[in-house]
């Protein structure tokens, strides 16, 4: 891996995103709209919003980044630019890290805006520190990016890439403890839930909601999430083939 080539690639990806106003809007505005909608739905019962708002603050960026990244890298594969890039000095690691860095940057912007909107506009009230909310949201978004990079390796068309969203994301969403507390799941499902990264994201968000001294527990969740990010990036770079049939 080469830092200069990684940064060049991240810069190029960001330049592409910047030129695409609709995608920027999708990334920044959609989570805010959804959180606003949620606050409105629970207008009469603000404690419910305080309870699930933070968890969704972790889920939305994950989903949005998953879709955007998997389609962007698939486009790179089908347009021939990836084949060409891999004949240059760019390594597979530079390519993956470049994408992760670029979308990680977008994730920071997205998390700041969405968290700010949730706290100051929708009146979300959490016991833990708000900056930790942002850190977890960024980690979730980068997780979405890393899994999106991995998923795009298994998609041949953009239709398939979009279909991977429900396949990769919905099971995690159902099992992450948002609908049913994870302790209350049947054993087998709880084990599955224990292995899935989104569960830790939602756990971390719940901890921040409930306790003021959340750093220790959230730290452990973050370690698992970061481990998953690294794993997905490594597996994803294995799906990149310099030589193809």
């Amino acid at each position: 891996m080469n830092l200069r080539l990684t940064l060049l690639t991240a810069g190029r990806v960001l330049r592409q995103i910047r030129g695409d106003h609709r995608t920027v809007a999708l990334m920044i505005v959609v989570p805010c709209v959804l959180i606003g909608l949620l606050a409105w739905i629970f207008n009469a019962t603000p404690f419910v919003f305080d309870h699930i708002g933070p968890a969704l603050l972790g889920v939305f960026p994950f989903v949005v980044m998953f879709i955007v990244t998997s389609v962007a890298t698939l486009r790179e594969r089908t347009s021939g630019t990836l084949e060409r890039l891999l004949t240059t000095r760019i390594g597979k690691g530079d390519f993956m890290a470049g994408y992760a860095l670029a979308f990680g940057f977008m994730a920071v912007v997205q998390a700041l805006v969405a968290t700010g909107f949730a706290v100051w506009v929708c009146g979300l009230d959490v016991a833990g520190p708000i900056w930790l909310l942002v850190v977890v949201a960024v980690a979730d978004a980068v997780l979405g990016t890393a899994l999106g990079l991995l998923a795009s390796g298994f998609a041949r068309t953009e239709f398939q890439a979009v279909q991977f969203m429900p396949a990769f994301v919905l099971p995690q969403f159902l099992l992450c403890g948002l609908l049913v507390a994870r302790d209350a799941l049947p054993d087998v499902l709880r084990w599955v839930s224990d292995a899935l990264p989104l569960s830790y994201a939602v756990d971390a968000m719940k901890t921040i909601t409930a306790t003021s001294d959340a750093l220790g527990d959230v730290g452990k969740d973050l370690v698992v999430i970061v481990g998953w990010i690294a794993l997905a990036l490594v597996l994803g770079s294995l799906t990149l083939r310099r030589r193809t049939p």
């Binding site: 021939g80 060409r84 004949t87 240059t88 000095r89 310099r242 030589r243 193809t244 049939p245």
Partner: protein, 253 residues
């Protein structure tokens, strides 16, 4: 085996794609500092051969040596420029941003970026997004991204498709100038009259080279008035040879 007078050395290359034997057994030497044309009908295996040379094609057996190193090896990455058959540039970036990205990867400065854009005659569209360009401009933007790194070997898959005669002439003149300056070029095309612009010709059909020759020799040997007629004569000759030897075979030359 290392011989620096060859840009590309291929020995008994065999490639299967999607269950189909595309290149049965191919051996060839391509000299440096020349424009070598790779011509032949559609589906004949030109792109497959080119992909093997730049090291992105899974090959079944055989060796491909480029500038003294195995095709696709790390040391060749900045020495080989590759243009895929369908233009592979970022449609949502401007021409300049595309060329700059590939230029920076190769480690060249801004002057080289502007020079590459000028070489393909796109300065007037440098700040236009590629998706807003015509087909020919699109492929020229793709070419500029390969030129910008000043590689020792340029491998171009049908760079002149869809271009008007004036642009085609200008590009072939450019290829000639690059070769005169020491660059080796492997350029595929299925426009036969472009054969006369090459220093050497490889005529490819069904994964085999019908001829590895110079334009003058080709005309002299076949007695044909132009490259197209010469090529058709060679195809007819190959077909009748195959028919005489029993038809079905024809796998290896």
């Amino acid at each position: 085996m290392v011989n620096n007078s060859y840009a590309v050395e291929v020995d008994h290359l065999r490639v299967t794609r999607g269950g189909r034997l595309v290149i049965p057994d191919l051996s060839v030497r391509i000299p440096t500092g020349q424009v070598v044309g790779l011509l032949g009908p559609s589906g004949g295996g030109k792109s497959t051969f080119i992909r093997a040379v730049v090291g992105v094609q899974v090959v079944e057996s055989g060796t491909v040596t480029v500038l003294g190193e195995p095709a696709g090896s790390q040391g060749l990455r900045h020495r080989v420029g590759y243009v895929t058959q369908s233009p592979s540039v970022y449609a949502d970036l401007t021409v300049a941003d595309n060329v700059r990205y590939f230029g920076r990867i190769a480690g060249v400065d801004e002057a080289a970026v502007q020079e590459a854009i000028a070489l393909v005659d796109l300065p007037s569209h440098a700040t236009a997004r590629v998706e807003n360009l015509s087909g020919g401009q699109h492929s020229r933007a793709s070419l500029a991204c390969a030129l910008v790194g000043r590689p020792d070997l340029l491998v171009l898959d049908e760079p002149t498709v869809g271009l008007d005669p004036v642009l085609r002439r200008d590009l072939w003149n450019l290829f000639g100038r690059l070769a005169a300056a020491g660059t080796s070029l492997l350029v595929s095309s299925h426009v036969m009259d472009e054969a006369t612009r090459c220093d050497r010709l490889l005529l490819m059909r069904e994964g085999e080279f019908l001829a590895d020759t110079t334009p003058a020799q080709l005309l002299a040997e076949t007695g044909a008035p132009d490259a197209e007629a010469a090529f058709l004569a060679l195809i007819d000759r190959a077909a009748s040879t195959a028919a005489r030897s029993g038809g079905a075979g024809g796998s290896a030359a």
